[in-house]
């Protein structure tokens, strides 16, 4: 009997707690960002850095400017652990906004979650931002109106790397007869670029050696022995998480020089290079944004947010690292989209549908970059109805044993070459799903 009462009491407490949690007090006047973050699990390094930078930038806008045109920014987090079904649960939990503040856009920073919420967010009219990753054909905004692989999609990424190797070899024509190996993570993310690499190898006449590393990639002896036998001129490392430092260490063991390994966009952080110690010295990788704290926007964040003890990072030393700066860049792009949309729809909290218009009209030239204090941090960018990527350029950086040093100006991907392939794929998707593409000439 006593047990009964106990259970009952427990249930009541639980129910009250839930009711309190779901009760919504109308606050209004705020623009809300649902954050599907991940702070535990194997990819926590990426998640804490990225969402730390994102949140700090939102705080910075709130403190310095009182929000966007007086509309305060708010956010709440939901842990996904990079797991797809948790990401879906978080998406459904947060999409309605918070305390009456409507959601602006979702930023899951996970290919799997992005794939799983792609159709949901289109149905819910909420922009889905997959900065530097995601589904390549979502670049075609006429078929994917609500999906934005901002800055750099996976195809542009490899195209830019090949262009860089071409530059290094003295022109793309010199690529003929060269041998390039690609070491990729055995996941949808890792395999996404294989067809495009094959296409480029045919076009430029280089020989391609594709090697898969099964998830999570902590054992790569056989792959690197193959590389030693094949003696490729360059190795493209398409890694994620623990796979990257292991690759660098194994390369050293098998005697492959680190300065001929080029890491892709998810093999480019301090967390990828530093654990490999001396083996990482000379390692080259691409980046859409340099690490470093010298940019005015980062100095501003340091002064108003970090020095006030409000920084989101548990380890303040990570301020200015690659993941953190990506979060800041992502914050700048999101806030700019809200700002642009406000110019059209009025200075009030906006719906996802209205913010989508803002994303589609993102335009950063050098002047605007200077105004937000991100010149050199963010590449010049212009989006449109048909083009949801906007940039497609990367810089190359080299690990000197302690930190990344930028070693190249912006290198452009061959976007004209990629566009027909992207459209083929997006039209196939449209046909499968029965979507009629928008007519972009009629969009304003």
């Amino acid at each position: 009997m006593k047990n009964h009462l106990h259970t009952l009491k427990g249930a009541v407490v639980l129910a009250l707690g839930l009711a309190a949690a779901s009760a919504t007090a109308q606050a209004g006047g705020e623009q809300y960002f649902p954050l599907q973050s991940y702070r535990v699990g194997p990819y926590a390094a990426g998640g804490t850095g990225f969402f730390g930078g994102f949140i700090d930038y939102l705080q910075y806008v709130n403190i310095k400017e009182g929000g966007v045109n007086g509309v305060k920014l708010s956010w709440s987090e939901c842990e996904t652990e990079y797991v797809v079904e948790k990401g879906v649960e978080c998406y459904e939990r947060l999409k309605k906004g918070l305390n009456g503040a409507p959601a602006a856009a979702t930023n899951p920073l996970s290919v799997g979650i992005a794939y799983a919420t792609l159709e949901r967010s289109t149905a819910d009219k909420l922009p889905l931002i997959t900065i530097n990753h995601g589904r390549t054909d979502s670049t075609d905004g006429s078929v994917f109106p609500y999906v934005f692989p901002l800055q750099l999609n996976p195809y542009s990424e490899v195209s830019a790397i090949i262009n860089y190797i071409g530059q290094k070899s003295g022109g793309l024509a010199k690529l003929k007869g060269k041998k390039i190996a690609v070491l990729y993570h055995g996941s949808p993310y890792g395999k996404e670029t294989n067809p495009i690499l094959e296409l480029l190898s045919k076009k430029y006449g280089f020989q391609l050696v594709s090697l898969e590393v099964p998830h999570p990639g902590n054992e790569q002896q056989s792959q690197w022995l193959t590389i030693r036998q094949q003696k490729p001129d360059w190795v493209i490392l398409r890694g994620w998480g623990v796979m990257n430092p292991v690759a660098l260490k194994t390369a050293q063991k098998t005697g492959y020089p680190a300065d001929h390994i080029i890491g892709n966009i998810w093999s480019n952080s301090e967390e990828d290079a530093a654990p490999a110690g001396a083996a990482a010295k000379g390692f080259i990788s691409i980046t859409t944004h340099p690490s470093g704290t010298q940019f005015p926007v980062l100095q501003g964040i340091k002064k108003t947010v970090l020095d006030a003890g409000k920084g989101n990072l548990a380890d303040a030393k990570r301020f200015g690292t690659v993941y953190y700066n990506l979060g800041v860049v992502n914050g700048i792009l999101n806030v700019e989209a809200v700002r642009l949309a406000q110019a059209k729809f009025g200075k009030k909290p906006l719906t996802g549908e209205q913010v989508r218009w803002g994303f589609e009209h993102l335009h950063f030239d050098d002047k605007r970059l200077k105004e937000v204090g991100a010149l050199g941090l963010l590449q010049p960018l212009q989006l449109s109805c048909a083009d949801h990527e906007g940039g497609g350029a990367v810089r190359f950086q080299q690990w000197d044993g302690q930190q990344w040093k930028v070693i190249s100006p912006w290198v452009q991907a061959d976007r004209k070459l990629l566009r027909p392939i992207i459209e083929d794929s997006s039209h196939k998707y449209a046909k499968e799903k029965g979507i009629t593409p928008r007519d972009c000439s009629k969009e304003s």
Binding site: R39, V40, S76, A116, R120, P188
Partner: protein, 355 residues
């Protein structure tokens, strides 16, 4: 007191063969069905359908599949997720190979393919038992995941191995909305539960339990071990396969082979351990525990503790609490939640007298 069962006699064989012999049980079942079909679709919101009810139903079904094999037939398996993956990819692929294949039939076909694969990987069970069998089903887990990742044919030429759900059309009706997907899932899950509840009372079910309790003795009294064990693998894999299709089509809408990894197999195993081995109801209880509790913890910690602790520590704290709760439950009731439920029923029967 709450619960009088005296005076209910069976006067016909038909009545005696019923799965639920008390009118209270039947009334409760009808009330639940009415709630699930008649009320929930109208009062639920997107969040409840997409994030709670659908995964709860699908995981209950997966639990049922494993429970038939492990809880009833006594064959340990860590390959549940592999059979789910086979079901999901087979239904997807068949949709393309046979255009115009009705959705429900493709679920069944996915289940059948999973059943065939299940029988193949069940063959070792004739020679090995217990933990050794566990290891051989583990092979199924790794093999299937590798196969589906390696050959793009299974995902219809998609290099990245991701499959997406076709439009959810049944007899011309679109079940694509969250409420529709919930109803579709429910309508697939319930018949399979009815089937399984009757199966375990049939002669096959009794054979399974005989094999579970002692297979030598079962062989001696004339139970065909080969047939019994392989049927357990086939039927269990069929149900897991259907659960996999539902997971891919009605729940997530898109899935990659890695979504059916070893941790999914463990999740299904935990559902039946927590819910109760050899119990039909236990699958629902276990799935509810696994699906709901982390969400409740996350919402509670978000509203009560946010700001007190850094977000990262808060997440780890939830994991700790979840783990501790599982351990406490298993200490208090090693036979699972279903046994706990039976205990409560026995108490309720006597209330207000002491048990």
């Amino acid at each position: 007191m709450f619960y009088q069962e005296s005076g209910q006699f069976s006067t016909r064989y038909r009545q005696d063969g019923r799965a639920l012999r008390l009118w209270q049980q039947r009334a409760a079942l009808w009330a639940l069905l009415l709630l699930a079909f008649g009320l929930l679709p109208f009062i639920g919101n997107d969040y409840w359908f997409s994030a709670i009810l659908i995964p709860f139903l699908v995981l209950s079904l997966a639990g049922l599949g494993l429970n038939l094999l492990t809880g009833y037939a006594g064959q340990l398996s860590l390959g549940s997720a592999a059979f789910m993956a086979v079901g999901a990819f087979a239904s997807y692929k068949l949709q393309f190979l046979l255009p115009g294949l009705p959705l429900l039939l493709s679920f069944v076909a996915g289940g059948v393919v999973a059943a065939i694969v299940g029988v193949v990987f069940g063959l070792p069970s004739l020679r090995i038992k217990g933990f050794y069998l566990l290891v051989s089903t583990l092979a199924a887990q790794f093999f299937v995941e590798w196969l589906l990742t390696k050959f793009a044919w299974f995902s219809n030429g998609n290099e990245s191995g991701v499959i997406t759900a076709p439009p959810l059309l049944v007899a011309g009706h679109d079940f694509g909305s969250p409420a529709g997907r919930y109803l579709l899932t429910l309508s697939v899950v319930l018949p399979l539960f009815v089937l399984a509840a009757n199966l375990v009372r049939s002669s096959l079910g009794r054979n399974w339990m005989a094999v579970r309790d002692m297979d030598t003795a079962a062989a001696v009294i004339g139970i065909p071990i080969l047939r019994t064990k392989l049927l357990a693998f086939a039927i269990s894999s069929f149900i897991l396969g259907v659960a996999g299709s539902l997971w891919a089509f009605t729940y997530l809408g898109t899935v990659e082979p890695h979504g059916f990894d070893l941790s999914r197999s463990f999740q299904v195993l935990f559902i039946i351990i927590l819910g109760g081995m050899g119990s039909i109801l236990g699958n629902f209880l276990g799935a509810a525990f696994i699906v709901l509790l982390p969400i409740v913890l996350s919402i509670l910690s978000g509203s009560l503790l946010s700001g007190v602790l850094p977000a990262g520590q808060l997440e780890n704290l939830q994991k700790i609490i979840f783990g501790v709760l599982i351990i406490l439950f298993l200490i208090k009731e090693p036979d699972g939640l279903a046994r706990l439920w039976q205990g409560w029923r026995a108490r309720a029967r006597l209330w207000p007298l002491r048990f």
